[in-house]
């Protein structure tokens, strides 16, 4: 199924460049929209809802959810890009097919898409970080170190999205992806509330979500400049990402070369 001719290579950058060119045509509108949306989220949850919440481990609720929002934006952006976006490229616009009539291998095409998902995640998270900065919610210069983590989050959710996109018979199939993959992580990865004091099964479930580990790292870096059990969290995040990337390549290969 996988042979030398469909493994990824440096040529993936050429695919990434195509996505960047295409992005040029709509990024201004997107940035303006996202900027406003991020600020609204923070106002509504951090300050609106946050008034009802006592401080959590010595930080305000707005401070608590800021990093959670950064990570979840990375997740959403790369998920949209790899589900609807990739399905469109695969089945509707036939962008993949055009690429397959060049020296690019399927591995290059998938890796290029994933690098782009990582890039979009970083762009989205950057906008949120700026908003956090404006609200004075960044506690450490180590906050700048979140970007590599965000990029990995983009790769991971890009991979998950591509796995589903390779299996999807139509656009409506993606609602499974959102309700079974994205929403549980969105709510239970310690993005909006701490797990301390919750029932054991809920904490165990949360520990199994790879996003939880990303949130822990990002929150630590943004608020305190240090992360408890950093290596462990990083290991889980990186290992999950690698496995999902391989599965994404298999899923897309099966769809594209029959």
């Amino acid at each position: 199924m996988i042979n030398r001719d469909n493994l990824p290579s440096r040529r993936a950058v050429r695919v990434w460049l195509r996505h960047l060119i295409q992005y040029r045509s709509f990024y201004v509108a997107e940035w303006a929209g996202n900027f406003g949306e991020h600020a609204l989220y923070l106002l509504a949850f951090g300050y609106g809802l946050g008034r009802l919440v006592p401080s959590i481990n010595g930080v305000s609720y707005a401070q608590f959810i800021g990093p959670g929002l950064v990570v979840s934006i990375a997740m959403w952006t790369s998920t949209f890009e790899s589900t609807y976006g990739a399905y469109n490229r695969m089945r509707i616009q036939k962008t993949y097919e055009a690429m397959m009539s060049t020296p690019l291998s399927l591995g290059d095409i998938v890796l290029g898409d994933l690098l782009w998902c990582g890039t979009r995640a970083v762009i989205g998270a950057t906008l949120m970080m700026i908003v956090l900065g404006l609200f004075g919610l960044i506690g450490s210069p180590w906050a700048l170190a979140v970007f590599p983590i965000i990029f990995i989050v983009g790769l991971m959710f890009g991979s998950l999205g591509l796995i589903t996109a390779g299996l999807a018979p139509s656009f409506s199939f993606f609602s499974f992806h959102f309700s079974l993959v994205v929403m549980p992580m969105f709510f239970f990865a310690e993005t909006f509330f701490p797990l301390k004091g919750l029932p054991l099964w809920m904490r165990a479930f949360s520990q199994m979500l790879p996003l939880t580990h990303a949130v822990k790292i990002v929150r630590g870096l943004i608020l305190f400049g240090e992360v408890e059990s950093l290596l462990w969290h990083f290991f889980v995040l990186a290992a999950c990402t690698l496995v999902f990337m391989i599965l994404a390549m298999i899923s897309v290969s099966r769809r594209m070369v029959n």
Binding site: R14, R18, K94, A98, S101, V257
Partner: protein, 307 residues
């Protein structure tokens, strides 16, 4: 033209099944450098599947394949560096302009934007799309898109060009422009493999054709020779809707006659004698014409509709 023994496409026993359907059933293609070869066949004959296996978009079910000297299994990316592919479907990048489409494609081949600029202008001139360079793809007509697909496939100066139904859906003007360009490319030494179900296209362009049906190549050879061999020189079409006709009029001429609906097709080397006898028998509603590729095609693949 065929003195070069070098084969740009060397496929033996190529086959592919989808479930129970044998889409391609063991075909052999040997296409020499500089040759233009046309695969003819009705819808569903397996033409597209065959060429997709050759450029590596569909996995081979069986058989041996070498393209431009490269192994079809392990070196197909390498082979595609020197192959231009014009697919049946529009695979243009709809979110980019004409010029961006060209240079993004050049980038897939590792040609830098700077180096590709001159080549793109040259190719847009070649397919008469220079003035459209900054247009969005959705504003182009079907014929323009098809020409752009051809220009795009030439960006890296390939040695082999593969086209899947290059003129399907085009108006006569656009079709003749495409043929003109393909003939120019051919005289420049490019090897061309195309599929078509337009007989005129095959007659205009191809040095050799293979007529394909139900996954097999039925006959193969230069178009005019094939027609002469398999059909004859002339065809008389005799229409006699709703009435009997006297086949006896043709006497002992021993002609090859085929009937379909209200028409009888009489295939012969020289139609003069047959015409004389028909007129004697009082048959007047007939058409005498030279035998064509279309006769060959219909004789080989039958007159039943293919969906």
């Amino acid at each position: 033209m065929f003195f070069l023994a070098e084969l740009d496409i060397d496929a033996r026993g190529l086959s592919k099944s989808f479930g129970d359907l044998k889409a391609v059933d063991g075909i052999t293609l040997e296409i020499s450098r500089g040759e233009c070869y046309g695969l003819l066949g009705p819808n569903g004959a397996g033409k597209t599947t065959a060429i997709r296996m050759i450029h590596g978009a569909t996995r081979r079910g069986g058989g041996e394949l070498r393209v431009l000297g490269f192994d079809g299994t392990t070196e197909s990316c390498r082979a595609r560096e020197e192959m231009g592919i014009v697919p049946q479907d529009d695979t243009l990048d709809n979110e980019l302009t004409v010029y961006e489409n060209m240079w993004v494609f050049a980038n897939y081949f590792g040609i830098s934007r700077h180096r590709s600029r001159e080549r793109i202008e040259e190719l847009l001139d070649f397919v008469q799309l220079r003035e459209k360079w900054n247009e969005q793809i959705k504003t182009l007509s079907g014929g323009m898109k098809r020409r752009l697909l051809i220009a795009r496939a030439l960006i890296h100066r390939p040695r082999l060009l593969i086209l899947d139904e290059p003129t399907t859906g085009l108006d006569p003007q656009a079709r003749h422009l495409v043929w003109q360009r393909l003939r120019e490319l051919k005289s420049g030494g490019l090897t061309i493999l195309l599929t078509t179900h337009y007989m005129e296209e095959a007659a205009q362009l191809c040095d050799r054709i293979g007529v394909m049906d139900q996954g097999r190549i039925l006959v193969e050879g230069p178009p005019t020779a094939l027609v002469r061999e398999r059909v004859g020189e002339e065809v008389i079409e005799l229409r006699c809707a709703g009435r009997a006709w006297s086949a006896g009029a043709l006497g002992e001429l021993g002609l090859d006659i085929e009937s379909a609906g209200d028409t009888h097709y009489i295939y012969c080397r020289d139609g003069a004698e047959a015409v004389r006898r028909l007129l004697e028998a009082g048959e007047e509603d007939f058409l005498r014409r030279p035998a064509s590729l279309e006769d060959l095609f219909l004789r080989l693949t039958g007159r039943d509709l293919r969906e």
